[in-house]
């Protein structure tokens, strides 16, 4: 319990510090001006979401291999948290796009693959509500989770493989990409803060899933007596 409170407090303090750094520490970008400050929030949320899906993918793989319910809990916790982060990305992106591009949305490779990723994990969560039997639910959703993860490298690669509306990557984007030192430090700090927040939410969601399993055991015990 104390660990969870500490992690929660660390997450809140870090994201506040990251927001402060985004507005008051990072230098202003020349072409977009103050609007570019959405970048620190939008991209760090996207990275944290993709990390959550990646951890969930390993949870799904391990469930298929070892059939331990803890891996199923990890898979669903990461999927739900990943969906929350991706929802933020899909909302903050168009809000940034409207003044920058003149349009809220376009069906370019990065935007479309991100939207499909969101739909895939929403389907994963819906699938879980349709199957009553716990082992069958865990196995089928783990298999579906492995399939859904195929879109994660596509989202990552979309702005590297195809040149469309979304800007080219500034991190890991090749020799002509990069950020000014002040921007880079703020960006990586924001990414770190969002990952701590993501881990806090995953751990909270994992505890919920563990409790659900306890309730199921108690119910079976109550039925047997």
């Amino acid at each position: 319990m104390a660990k969870r409170v500490l992690l929660g407090a660390a997450a809140v303090l870090l994201v506040i510090a990251a927001a402060y750094a985004s507005f008051f520490v990072a230098p202003e970008e020349r072409t977009m001006g103050v609007l570019q400050r959405i970048f620190y929030f939008h991209v760090s949320c996207a990275w944290a979401g993709l990390t959550a899906f990646s951890i969930g993918f390993f949870g799904n793989l391990l469930y298929v291999w070892k059939r331990k319910e803890q891996y199923d809990w990890l898979g669903v916790s990461c999927a739900e948290v990943g969906v929350a982060f991706t929802t933020v990305v899909l909302i903050s992106g168009p809000i940034w796009a409207k003044p920058a591009w003149g349009i809220y949305w376009t069906w370019d490779a990065r935007l479309t693959s991100t939207f499909i990723l969101w739909l895939l994990y929403i389907s994963y969560l819906l699938l879980r509500t349709l199957i009553e039997e716990p082992d069958r639910r865990a196995l089928l959703s783990a298999l579906f989770g492995i399939f859904a993860f195929i879109d994660v490298p596509i989202v990552f690669g979309a702005i590297r493989w195809w040149r469309t509306q979304h800007p080219a990557p500034v991190i890991m984007g090749g020799p002509n990409s990069g950020l000014a030192p002040g921007m880079r430090a703020t960006f990586f700090f924001a990414v770190f803060a969002m990952h701590i927040l993501m881990w806090f939410l995953v751990s909270e969601r994992y505890s919920l899933e563990k409790m659900r399993s306890d309730v199921e055991l108690l119910r079976q015990e109550a039925e047997a007596t």
Partner: protein, 50 residues
């Protein structure tokens, strides 16, 4: 300052989603905790009857 409203809405809606998600997890956890307590009480009542 130009485009400040866009930044305001991006951050506000983003944090509202995280806060809403956390509240939904907290609500589900509290419901399950109550259910655990109820089941434990009913189990101990059953064992006392026996």
């Amino acid at each position: 300052m130009k485009n400040l409203d866009s930044i305001f809405w991006a951050y506000t809606l983003g944090w509202a989603i995280f806060f809403g998600f956390y509240l939904s997890v907290a609500k589900r956890s509290s419901d399950l905790r109550a259910e655990v307590e109820r089941l434990k009480k009913s189990l101990s009542a059953n064992s006392r009857e026996k």
